[in-house]
């Protein structure tokens, strides 16, 4: 499980926006990615080497400070947004 925090963006009144990306773990089968690769090949995109298909969440939350925001998002990922058994997630911070 990788949790990479790059840049925190703080909006007015302690508002933070995180972007969570969730992908199947590298060693786990990604049937959706495979199917999309094949489909792109069929419709004539030959340059495509690999597709990973995942989920993306934009989480807007209030928190006292960066640290709390970061801690909360990390907990959300572990508890709900990602399934650590088959998925990895990364967290990035975006400005509103």
């Amino acid at each position: 499980m990788t949790s990479q925090t790059s840049r925190h963006a703080e909006g007015p009144e302690g508002r933070f926006v995180a972007r969570v990306l969730v992908y199947p773990r590298a060693e786990v089968l990604d049937p959706q990615g495979r199917a999309i690769e094949d489909a792109l090949g069929r419709i004539g995109f030959d340059g495509v080497r690999r597709i990973r298909a995942g989920k993306s969440f934009e989480v807007a939350l209030e928190a006292a400070d960066e640290e709390q925001a970061s801690e909360a998002v990390d907990r959300m990922c572990r508890q709900l947004l990602a399934n650590p058994i088959v998925e990895d997630y990364t967290v990035e911070w975006v400005s509103e």
Partner: protein, 751 residues
């Protein structure tokens, strides 16, 4: 290649410690060294540990399984094939089997349950049969309150996993069962059943034969999925299981669907000799089992196995449990025809080796022989244990009869029962399953038995799965009998003759004498009932070691039986069949008749367990003759077209069964029974309620008398209330009220 096999670069040294890590006893390891005449390579050790695991070898259950009757005039293939096969008439055969995916589902409920469905479907279509129906038998732990949070997550994941997989492949899930009990808190049970049909001359077997014939690999590429899965399924849980997490397999139902279509097409092409899917222990079990059945050997070049990651070792390639993979053996020189079919369906296929007459499995990897083992002794010569068995020390305590208090208000008791997830409506589950695809479903989930028409014939198939783990825990032999009896009875309610049984034996560790005893007793009870009803066991699966930190699951020998209704037209008017074969009241004015007698039995009953919070005493006695007589009467009445509905009495007893009949279509009953309030909840066996048009009552009663089955008229169908007089009072409730409690129970429990 004649070089002595050696481990691949970077693999650990094989010694007895490594063997122990693989679950092999010192004796088993010694036996393996003797068999090979040398120390095994790493790959060989992996292979042997998989083949010797309980999952593949049945080493602790084999001696008990021999008790099952496995033959009848209808049996085409009994246990030993991927699925058993029985003749269902009109030139058709049915192939079916049930399998557990308990441990994987506990670790990752969605993928675990999904791949369980995938595996059982492959077992069926590798026989050449087209899957037409699934059942799922589920046991969960407590789901209430804070503590139940994880369990609710498991319920949700398992149900979505089963649904998403079966729905995508397009196989209807037409029934099943769902139970909750604290004994499953640390080990849930997910048993998946699949049934396929096939013209009788089109059945295939998983056999490798004909030296020189090519072996093709088809389907998904091999990755690091589920390595050690087979061994894992045979070990009890402990804290270390967490570390085994990365071994979860991910299912790809789309690939399964195209693999299904391509395989059936390839088998029809005439050039395929044998087919086997890669299930538990992947390439290992498929190669060894196919070779063993054909009395042959195989040479496999592991460099030719399509991989998802280039870095897999031969050990990993042989043990990977990547899903949606198959092995085909074709006529020599004809492999292109099969490759062509597969590629039209978008599937990769590659020739990975050939059949030999050496009787050995020889595996090469990067120019080196990594395994060279005799096939037959490893597959059929795996150790067999007669484990010490003894009744549990507290058996007496368990079976001590506890007085059961009569309910002050039977209606309140009924409502409490209806409001438990255990007895509540299961629609929340089965409305996530496509139950009507393939357009054969006459009766789907929500009845005693599902009924599927067989297009192009006058007949239908009926199927059901049953077991009462509390009964099995209190008295395993009786519980085993009861599971079979209830399944046969459920089939009889729709007039179906049982033609074959499959089962899944879910128990704790057989190394515990009390569990070994439970296993033996349950099997004995099941076997007695099978003989009494003349039902052959044609396939099955054993799942042992379902325990966590010494806490074993209740003994749960899940039984699934398939029955045949010869002529649907005998049973009722075509347009009414879905009503007549269901178990609800629907036609006002019909008479309600109760068949069978009550002996006031409460041990392990829902009333005692769920309302009085006691699990003790002896479970209801199963009188096999009485059951057989009742079932014969039900089938006779069905064939004669007398019945407009039928529901057997099971969990919860008479009042609950009547309430279920009333809730089904919101049409009630006005009636009376001559028993006290407690007996309304007794679970005496061999009983059923039937509805008949008033004009048919005489015939039915006469037939019952002729067969020695007690029969009494209870009342009339009609109105929107359930009104039942009993000795000392009346139950009177609007059906809508009952329905509300019943339908909200499960959704509320799962949050």
């Amino acid at each position: 290649m004649t070089t002595t096999p050696s481990s691949a670069a970077g693999e650990p040294v094989v010694d007895s410690a490594l063997a122990a890590d693989h679950g092999l006893t010192g004796e088993e390891f010694g036996g393996l060294c003797d068999l090979l005449g040398r120390s095994p390579t790493c790959t060989e050790l992996g292979i042997a540990s998989a083949l010797y695991s309980e999952h593949c070898s049945y080493k602790s259950s084999k001696i008990h399984l021999r008790r099952f009757p496995t033959r009848s005039r209808r049996v085409v293939h009994g246990p030993g094939e991927n699925a058993g096969v029985v003749d269902i008439g009109h030139g058709w055969v049915a192939a079916f089997k049930m399998e557990s995916h308990n441990h994987p589902s506990f670790i990752e409920p969605y993928q675990g349950a999904a791949t369980g469905v995938g595996g059982i479907l492959r077992d069926v279509f590798t026989m050449g049969a087209r899957p037409i129906a699934c059942l799922d038998s589920l046991r969960f732990g407590e789901i209430d309150g804070e503590r139940g949070a994880r369990m609710r997550h498991l319920v949700d994941g398992v149900v979505r996993g089963i649904g998403d997989y079966g729905n995508c492949v397009g196989i209807p899930t037409v029934g099943g069962e769902t139970g909750f009990h604290r004994s499953y808190n640390g080990n849930i049970l997910v048993n998946a059943f699949a049934l396929g049909v096939c013209r009788e001359d089109r059945i295939f077997t998983a056999t490798a034969s004909g030296a020189g014939n090519p072996i093709l690999y088809a389907g998904s590429r091999t990755g690091r999925d589920g390595i050690h899965g087979a061994t894992m399924a045979s070990e009890a849980f402990d804290a270390e299981s967490e570390a085994k997490r990365p071994t979860v397999q991910v299912g790809d139902p789309f690939t399964e669907k195209v693999l299904l279509e391509a395989s059936l097409e390839a088998m029809r092409s005439g050039v395929v000799l044998g087919v086997q899917d890669m299930g538990a222990a992947g390439l290992t079990s498929s190669c060894f089992e196919m070779a063993a059945r054909g009395g042959a050997g195989v040479d496999i070049d592991l460099d030719l196995v399509p991989l998802r990651e280039a870095s897999l070792t031969p050990y990993e390639i042989m043990l990977s449990e990547s899903q949606e993979r198959m092995v085909f053996v074709t006529q020599r020189g004809q492999e292109e025809a099969v490759v062509e079919i597969l590629s039209r369906w978008g599937l990769e296929a590659s020739k990975i080796g050939r059949v030999t007459d050496s009787g050995r499995a020889r595996l090469t990897f990067r120019g080196r022989t990594v395994a060279d083992m005799p096939v037959e002794p490893l597959v059929d010569g795996a150790p067999v244990y007669d484990r010490p068995a003894a009744p549990p020390a507290d058996l007496r305590e368990r079976q001590r009869v506890v007085d059961c208090e009569a309910p002050e208000d039977p209606l309140r008791a009924l409502r409490s029962l209806l409001g438990t997830p255990e007895l509540g409506d299961k629609t929340w589950i089965h409305r996530q399953y496509d139950s009507t695809v393939r357009s054969n479903t006459i009766v789907g989930p929500g009845s005693d038995a599902a009924v599927l028409r067989l297009k192009g014939t006058p007949s239908a198939l009926a199927l059901t799965s049953d077991v009462n783990p509390s009964y099995c825990w209190l008295e395993p032999r009786m519980g085993g009998r009861q599971a079979v009896a209830e399944a046969v009875r459920n089939l009889a309610t729709v007039g179906a003759e049982p033609v074959g049984m499959t089962n899944c034996l879910n128990f704790g560790s057989p190394e515990n004498p009390a569990i070994a005893w439970q296993l033996r007793e349950c099997i004995e009870g099941m076997a007695e009932a099978c003989r009494a009803f003349d039902v052959p066991v044609i396939s099955g699966n054993v799942s042992l070691y379902n325990e966590t930190e010494g806490e074993a699951v209740h003994p749960t020998p899940t039984v699934a039986i398939v029955g045949v209704i010869d002529r649907l037209e005998d049973i009722g008017a075509e347009g009414d069949l879905h009503l007549v074969l269901g178990c609800g009241f629907w036609r006002p004015g019909d008479r309600v008749v109760l068949l069978g007698c009550d002996s006031g039995e409460y041990g392990g009953s829902a009333y005692q367990r769920l309302l009085q919070r006691v699990e003790a005493g002896r479970p209801p006695a199963v009188d096999l003759e009485a059951e057989a007589a009742l079932c014969a009467l039900l089938r006779q009445s069905r064939r004669a077209g007398w019945l407009s509905g039928c529901h057997d009495l099971a969990d919860g007893g008479l009042l609950l069964a009547l309430a279920e009949c009333a809730m089904a279509r919101g049409i009630g009953l006005r009636g009376a029974v001559g028993c006290g309030p407690l007996a309304l909840f007794s679970e005496s066996q061999a009983r059923a309620i039937v509805t008949v048009p008033a004009a048919r009552t005489e015939e039915l009663l006469a037939a019952a008398e002729a067969r020695g089955v007690a029969a009494r008229e209870v009342g009339d169908v009609g109105g929107d209330r359930l009104v039942l007089d009993f000795e000392g009072g009346t139950v009177d409730s609007a059906i809508g009220d009952l329905r509300r409690v019943w339908t909200e129970a499960l959704p509320r429990a799962v949050g």
